[in-house]
Subunit: 463 residues, 4 copies
Amino acid sequence: MAKLASGRVTEQSSELLDRFNASLPFDRKLYAEDIRGSIAHATMLHAQGILNDSELSDIVSGLQQIEKEIEEGSFSFEIGDEDIHMAIEKCLTEMIGDTGKKLHTARSRNDQVALDFRLYVQKNTLRVKSQLLKLEAVLLKIAKSNTDTMLPGMTHLQHAQPINFAYHMLAYMSMFKRDIERFESAYLRNNYSPIGCAALAGTPHPIDREKTAELLGFEAPTINCLDTVSDRDFALDILYNISVLMTHISRLSEELILWSSSEFGFISLSDSYSTSSSIMPQKKNPDVPELLRGKTGRVYGNLIALLTVLKGLPLAYNKDMQEDKEGVFDSVETALLSVEILTAALDTMTVHREKMAQACRQGHLSATDLADYLVQKCGMPFRDAYKITGAIVVEAEKMEVDLSELPVEVIKAFAPCVGDDVETFLDLRHSMNARTSQGGTATTETEHQIAWFAAWLESKARE
Amino acid sequence: MAKLASGRVTEQSSELLDRFNASLPFDRKLYAEDIRGSIAHATMLHAQGILNDSELSDIVSGLQQIEKEIEEGSFSFEIGDEDIHMAIEKCLTEMIGDTGKKLHTARSRNDQVALDFRLYVQKNTLRVKSQLLKLEAVLLKIAKSNTDTMLPGMTHLQHAQPINFAYHMLAYMSMFKRDIERFESAYLRNNYSPIGCAALAGTPHPIDREKTAELLGFEAPTINCLDTVSDRDFALDILYNISVLMTHISRLSEELILWSSSEFGFISLSDSYSTSSSIMPQKKNPDVPELLRGKTGRVYGNLIALLTVLKGLPLAYNKDMQEDKEGVFDSVETALLSVEILTAALDTMTVHREKMAQACRQGHLSATDLADYLVQKCGMPFRDAYKITGAIVVEAEKMEVDLSELPVEVIKAFAPCVGDDVETFLDLRHSMNARTSQGGTATTETEHQIAWFAAWLESKARE
Amino acid sequence: MAKLASGRVTEQSSELLDRFNASLPFDRKLYAEDIRGSIAHATMLHAQGILNDSELSDIVSGLQQIEKEIEEGSFSFEIGDEDIHMAIEKCLTEMIGDTGKKLHTARSRNDQVALDFRLYVQKNTLRVKSQLLKLEAVLLKIAKSNTDTMLPGMTHLQHAQPINFAYHMLAYMSMFKRDIERFESAYLRNNYSPIGCAALAGTPHPIDREKTAELLGFEAPTINCLDTVSDRDFALDILYNISVLMTHISRLSEELILWSSSEFGFISLSDSYSTSSSIMPQKKNPDVPELLRGKTGRVYGNLIALLTVLKGLPLAYNKDMQEDKEGVFDSVETALLSVEILTAALDTMTVHREKMAQACRQGHLSATDLADYLVQKCGMPFRDAYKITGAIVVEAEKMEVDLSELPVEVIKAFAPCVGDDVETFLDLRHSMNARTSQGGTATTETEHQIAWFAAWLESKARE
Amino acid sequence: MAKLASGRVTEQSSELLDRFNASLPFDRKLYAEDIRGSIAHATMLHAQGILNDSELSDIVSGLQQIEKEIEEGSFSFEIGDEDIHMAIEKCLTEMIGDTGKKLHTARSRNDQVALDFRLYVQKNTLRVKSQLLKLEAVLLKIAKSNTDTMLPGMTHLQHAQPINFAYHMLAYMSMFKRDIERFESAYLRNNYSPIGCAALAGTPHPIDREKTAELLGFEAPTINCLDTVSDRDFALDILYNISVLMTHISRLSEELILWSSSEFGFISLSDSYSTSSSIMPQKKNPDVPELLRGKTGRVYGNLIALLTVLKGLPLAYNKDMQEDKEGVFDSVETALLSVEILTAALDTMTVHREKMAQACRQGHLSATDLADYLVQKCGMPFRDAYKITGAIVVEAEKMEVDLSELPVEVIKAFAPCVGDDVETFLDLRHSMNARTSQGGTATTETEHQIAWFAAWLESKARE
């Protein structure tokens, strides 16, 4: 296969190499970025007097025509074109003649690839963020309706203390808020333009990198071109940010799966987000959260893959770096679809409040309150109150009642200092609502948190 | 979208879920395994009297017709079919009526997926092995022609001792031989049939799992069905085996890249396996080994991805496990293509013997020999001989000559016990050929190794 | 710090370098392997006439003395000794004079490290295997007492079909059996001796590598020395094998955690393997399985770490490879302790049969049986039977009874072909015991599996 | 072993569990953070009237005494104490009596661990940043002395275009600058106080979390306590940031290793940062960059380990999370030591300018300039200029001269439009200095970059 760039290499490359080397099957996703970048580059070349008016006009309309053809599916890609950049440039030259070849003045495939890929990453950073804001809105909506929905807060998957479901949803809002911030800071840190760096050393042509940076929405051009063509930090950043996001999603998914089990029964996912078994007609399976949890694997894999590729690479561009894109495309698409479907599944789930409340009556959830009572009312050191409460719980187990339902006399037998007011302390809803410290689960405090998140979401909407 | 399996779930699933849930876009690769497995299953059902003659005949010819359509590209896949198993079964039923539905008797999607995927892995384990044997043959061929081609053996990328190029190639033969053994042992360990395990518990139908195992080339059926539908060890094994293989390939690739640099100049890759730069007309780039080195990342990523998916999954099948396939497909295809192109690139490379020999005259490669001389002829403890040699090397550096060319007098000044026979010891080719211990680099010993590997390869060919 | 090996390097190394470079803080674990290897090497040198009787005797007794001191804690390690090999050799020379220096004849640190590390890996491969056999024995014991203990078999964490607890334990026996086989095949594949390979090229000394291989319990010496000093496949293999083992352990741990929750209540871990909360006196936490599940992370990390280290390393030894040991030590210790504590926790857990049986009455577990009935007795195609059963389940839900308790009349209204014998099919224990196909969950078939595993364990004990 | 917290659990825990469960062997590193956090907590409790003056005073002086003992090595740790928090609290209670037990009022081990660990991460984020600024200063110093030191810029490890060594160092400055920014943004994102969140739900005690946040240097308390005790994003962030940092270091290390080889010979590392071989007296090995490159593996491993641990964990605290610390400690210590030793190694290396310059005369480095000439002076489209230049390079190869030394006549034969002024274009230093575009390698432009980085470093110093 004879190729566009074939300076010194005299033999034809093998068909096997063409197939091995070609990035076109995946980097064609970058066509819009490539064309956008080329138009900005041409516009700058024209402003600098390197292209004349009609050359610019031919290039721009040629590129627009190509974009249209690609979007309509009428553009013919050939594997021998190797990559999307060559495919477009070759077509442009066939279309408008030698002027097409001038487009490559003062740039190289190295800075062109770096530009297209960075534009893709920046665009999708914003898209994931935008999807996450919708997810946050749904979580907030669920929280607002559930400030008084009590469920057992767990540690070690053991009932620990009664909390409210709004509070639980706000925990996830907190995680996704950090995710949004992580995407935002990566966006800012990487928002610099690579174009004009050429192969690795800059160019003798009198170009204006400030101009292209501005045209493409970057903060400024990058500082050092050798770094620029070698740099894939922006790709690592999005892979990592998506990995943390999917970690959070996997935790929520685990809970949705548990809550959907007949043992828990706390929620039902809508039939639209469940599936059945091919052999067991009674099954209703929480496929969505399971698949979300499973997809964590692939995004971790994509992160480790690119870290491995970059390890120990000398400067500047090496062909290994062609392996940078597929994983990013896959993680981005996974993230976008995952957040979207999670949002929909949450928005349509049914919360079984009675089952949650019922579950609170298992596991002596007010034990900490009893210990707190002993500290506050009897003046015991916490560690002693803790031990006595432990003994009372053992007694309750023997009697097969929950601590919240234990007769006061039994308690007094262990701790004579106890008064009748202890009953209030053992009440589960009282227990929940007692936790009024900042960040705590009391309904009043949860409502403060809701207000805080609502204000934050509004401020984001105004951005 | 209404689906084939829709026992209890009453609402229609959402289009979003269909898109999220569908494995058809990737598991259609398993069509041949699915059909092969179904024919074996139907044959067994018939032998057990569960299907009658005409039912078997209809099913088999229907499946063969579907296989033909898929291979010709005329089969129409619909995303709503969810997976390849449903797609084929639905088509079969449209084709042959209710008999098609009977095929699913005594099996479930769980054991069906486990079967198809395992057949794929076993088949490709053998294919990778077979490609590796071709690579070994080329390495052996290169070795045979280079038992006297001297190059600097390196540690820490510093010249250490002169070795021959055949010996260097045999190091890689050793690695790939272990790879072959690793694939072989995984093949045997996993060669058990999952079909007939149904959803997770076996089936009340009077089936014969020995029969299907035999028809499909397995050693025997698996022992416990709950494990069988949960087990993806076979997939982990091939991902790991490919990871080690690509580690080895990355090491050889690194050396090919170094050796192709103008600093080393030890080899030239054929133009058919090199590419040029889009901006620098003089460049000839070793893209093949670079890309091979880079592809190590993706196979590591695929391994970690599946390990992550499986971590902490309760028994038996969970939807997370749908994430098991794409990574395996990707690693398998990467391995097959990588070994093939590496074989071709090695087979067509040019070895620059003179450059290799020249390089040996840098770095005082016979220093260990001098130390050995001092031990053997002067009876010094090794550690003392080592120190004196170090001092002589410093002197040679000052005089700007290589140790192999240092006048004997200079050496005698440091070690009066030295005789004129030391000159032989400093000779580079003598140094190489002195290392006659088993496994060593002397040409004679290298030839033994070549004979050993040749015999091994022949025995493999006879298998 | 002046060092033992300081041939050409003239300045003193910096304290910072000493600290950075030293492997002594971790590789001192290899002291026993180092001494064992040195004694074998010395014995061979003596047999070859390179050491005389008294030299051998001095070396051996010196090394034994050092081993004793290290084990008693009286040996003084100095960071400046850099590694365990230097520390021991230096001490030996101080102890027995110049003879000590002769021990390093015909070997290098490269093959010495390769030997010591490989001995460690081989020894611990057998130790992990041996621990796993104890775990298998406990699983078998539990299985034997629970062939009639019914619990809901799950897919997607939803009740699917009734199975017995023995059968569930045998699923894990199957996994750990594959683990044992994986360790065994790695042991055999890597059981070759590196010693005598010297730096990278063999040695001119008339050594006998067959002899040292035999003395150290290896199958034979390795074939090619350049490969041998570069090879860390044996380390990757144990890291991978432990990763798969911990994946299996993480799955069992997840189930133990779920089963210990108050929602499931299927088992209780012994108090000896549970812990309490510092603030919630009523808690009993399943720390052991949680920590086991968590430790999966570190062994995955250790695997990816070494894969990363080896990626793209040119031959032969590079200092990067010093990073090979800590991860292996950590994974080995994690595996040994994890299997031991898991064995103990399983051995002391209480199985709550009544809770398990009770859970079976939730989730219409005999739905598949009803569908099978419709196929077998009414001659329906499976897919139709499946749909009707789905409708009956919806009806049972409306009536708030489990399918196993639904009046036959209700069923007949949906499927007039149904006879009164359907009741037997809906019975849960009947459902379990109907699955008599090979590998299935019927008590009779589970007993076959138990016998099979018992025979296998006995054969292992005889090895 | 009887333990401090032993509410409901009645049997003694097993010795095996103690050993398995204990985090004391590693979390003792957090003693200073634990004490600092406890003093702040006690101060707040006092301000809120929960502790009286003498209680506060006893607690503070007791804790300070313990800190002193730990630092002096006289504190006795017992494995049965399980973790550093228990060890300190137990000792405090032994020291000051029941008042010691009051310290745990309104907190739990969950928020205490979260606090200590976060304090550690925040402190070390700043320490790594501070080390990086020293590294930047050394890179800048090297750059300043080498703006005219020409070396071959490479892509694909092939000579591409002449660049200057300052420019090459500035590429690394750019990478490390991004690293610094990544650490800074993680610091800000995670700078919120967990203390006061108690087990998972807040506390009924009238605490003031703003106060403790302020005392400990946090921006504010966290918003939601359920999230707070489950959140390890801050740990993931530092693991990731160190992974990217080590990726950059591995790239520089690879170059230092290449440049130290006798083939390149571009630099010499100081003897203080090199080592020798135990068997080859002539060797001088670049152990420092090799080990730096190798250490990339462990930090990747630590990242993947924690990602794996957190995947799929339900809220809130689970014991798996105890696995969060060792990897972070290891990565932090690796990063601190790595940056320090890299700084020292760079600061003491010798740059061989003549060797670098010499290397530029290989590989036709001015080929792009010739193509640019053809574009600018002859008005050729770039793609045509590229092809003709390729042909001229082939001719130069045949004549065995570098393009920079090819007689003008030869060039004119291929491109008649060429004038004598082409000679200037072929001059290597002219080629380098022609690349004056922003970010390019011309000495003048490199000096702008140096000024820019110097200003940035100064602004950091003023922070």
